[in-house]
Symmetry: C2
Subunit: 420 residues, 2 copies
């Protein structure tokens, strides 16, 4: 069957149009269960912060006007009327000529509009000598000067890191409304695939893709749901597993076994499930040309290649952006770094080519990107060496050796100690 | 009381010497619960991968020698003796002059040492015509050529991302031994501090540090244990809370309230708990000069400043590296980026100064670091604006406006959509 392959951009935009963004709602969580989650609404402050006029120094609260004219040789004398501590509400008020002892963080007593620092005063038998004048507002943080009631402090879509959660706490929130995480069903297909932990019969290999895909999903905050391994020649089981996965999850990712190739079993079943069924079958990319995408019962289903590195590349290109979008992270990017190619990177004729590369740091600090070709070396060697990929456009025949390129990373290399 | 402050380096090395690295052991987890965790042992492969000689193409398995001399005009004729599928063990063997149909990924039958690609053959009534010779090993991935049994594939200390977990699965592991995560007790002290979610009495403020510190701990994979708010004038409760925290957690972090200042309540109690008690009290840094560190009953206790941004900076400088070390991440670094200062950054005389900065991207892509001084603006404004900090050494009076500096980030700015 002849079919014209979609270009990379055509495939991306067709998936984006089909993405069922509205299927995920928001949920309310305790602050500390929301670390790394995405805010689902704007947050306005329910209070003034500070909620009182607050001293920023240790000293004496006064009406500033009474201190005017004070100097080192002619102190102004105030009458001490009490003390204000932090956190201790008081009914104290200062009148003209009166002063109240105050510590950093305590609320100013009524009428006071400034604080004289301790070091410019001397106390003697209930009387306070002030040796330097203060102006109105000096050493005072006014009510609402940090955050005013009803002020918007965080916007929908913000990622909740330590500062943002501290901010929510400061305003008195104990819970926060965040976007739900996406549930992603994962199915591995193939007659030769065995679950890790079991004995390995002759001629079989262990399942890799369930684990690479599930951890890549977990790393961005998604919730992988493992549906295990289904033999691709068992049409009935494959169909019922796909139906269960579609019913249970927000989105489904299958990875095909090498044996599927010409039979296209998964796409055939997805097309039968229908409405519309397959929306993409084959994209002009390398690796991953046979990738298929379906929309079934309002859910997206991705059918990825069986080779682990290829399926990880296709996951990063097509699935990850959709998962992030569904979780409210509209513009999240992969970590990127710039490196120099160790040899020529060759594109596949007429296809957007994503060359898996290893990144290494040379002694002089220069980062080097070396291509690793899935298929040329073993699946595991390739997977363990590839740190990310470099894009070669259809219009380029190759990228020359020694050229600076952008590497889109599978993970943070600094964290993995690959680079310093 | 006069005391000479320790330098930043002296404090760091005194903490490092005291760090109770041995207190954390390893635990065994299912692969998918180990995402982002640190491998606690070297991993050697228990199997050969592939565990059989594997065809890398669709075609016919033969003894290569029999194909020598084949050409487009003089095909060599083989007798077809059967078919090998993926995952289907067979007792098939090929003798001289015999060929077996084979698909990609399937094990070679006995005696076969090469695979002729489908496109260079033609089948007719049980006979196979081969139009091109193959050499020994052609289109075959030999047993153990990807990974050999007993080969070390991952090293202790590796972070388990998708590729590493895929690798473990490929070798048949269903569990992995990782370092335990560190349990960190968090105590907020201060008479004016109220738990978020409760009403705010006059003169009080909501607890921020419990939430900033707990999320910063969770973000690096630690396990925060919240001990709540203790009034710092309740010596007995503070002491018993510290004792419970020390007994329960691997490490304890308190943050002091502004009112503690001259009284140093927490350090006094820690010193009484003793053996040795306080090992550091006061470091020549800004912010965070009053920071205290104790070793009590084999556990480190950090007493951080009350100002949220200051306590977050001190957490990043002193506590975070220790937590990472305890969890096995020996050389983990904060994310760093280079930016240009928007104004002169001034150091505190004789102290290592860490200036909190906001990072913004200008239209031309230039990153600008603007200082935000805790204390000059409100605590919340400062906290929400600071993306990280810039270090100014004691030997520098200032860093000039317009100079390129390294910014140590509190979080990944790309992820937070601050920069593109």
């Amino acid at each position: 069957m002849f079919r014209k392959l979609l270009s990379f951009e055509e495939a991306k935009s067709r998936i984006n149009e089909a993405c069922p963004l509205k299927s995920l709602g928001a949920e309310e969580l305790p602050l500390l269960e929301a670390v790394g989650r995405i805010l689902a609404q704007d947050v306005a402050s329910p209070i003034d912060v500070p909620s009182f006029n607050r001293s920023t120094v240790d000293g004496y609260a006064v009406i500033a006007e009474g201190s005017f004219g004070a100097g080192e040789d002619n102190p102004v004398v105030f009458k001490l009327v009490g003390k204000v501590d932090v956190g201790a509400p008081s009914n104290l008020a200062v009148e003209e000529g009166a002063a109240a002892e105050i510590v950093t963080g305590a609320p100013l007593p009524a009428n006071a509009d400034a604080v004289v620092m301790l070091e410019y005063t001397r106390e003697k038998q209930g009387m306070l000598f002030i040796y330097r004048p203060v102006s109105i507002g000096e050493n005072v943080m006014l009510r609402a000067s940090d955050v005013a009631k009803d002020e918007t402090v965080l916007k929908r879509g913000a990622t909740l890191h330590s500062s943002q959660l501290g901010l929510m706490a400061a305003l008195g929130f104990s819970t926060v409304k965040v976007f739900k995480t996406v549930r992603v069903a994962i199915i591995s297909t193939g007659a030769e695939i065995v679950e890790p932990g079991r004995p390995l019969p002759a001629g079989k290999i262990y399942d890799i893709n369930t684990y690479t895909l599930a951890s890549a999903i977990a790393e961005i905050g998604g919730q992988p749901v493992i549906f295990g391994i289904v033999e691709d020649d068992d049409d009935k089981l494959l169909r019922s597993t796909l139906e269960r996965a579609i019913a249970d999850a927000h989105i489904v990712v299958t990875s095909g076994s090498v044996s599927v190739g010409p039979k296209d079993v998964v796409p055939q079943i997805l097309n039968k499930l229908g409405n519309p069924g397959i929306i993409i079958h084959g994209v002009a990319v390398k690796p991953g040309k046979p990738v298929a995408v379906a929309m079934v019962r309002g859910k997206l289903v991705f059918s990825l290649p069986g080779n682990p590195t290829s399926s990880l590349v296709i996951f990063h290109l097509f699935v990850r952006p959709i998962l992030l979008k569904m979780m409210g992270k509209q513009e999240y990017q992969s970590p990127v770094l710039r490196a120099v190619t160790s040899k020529r990177l060759i594109s596949a004729r007429g296809r957007r080519t994503f060359v898996p590369v290893a990144v290494d740091e040379e002694r002089n600090g220069q980062l080097i990107a070396s291509p690793i070709l899935p298929g040329q070396s073993g699946a595991i060697t390739t997977l363990s060496k590839a740190d990310g990929y470099v894009e070669v456009r259809e219009t380029q025949q190759f990228i020359e050796k020694g050229k600076e390129v952008e590497v889109f990373l599978f993970r943070n290399l600094r964290e993995a100690n690959v680079i310093s």
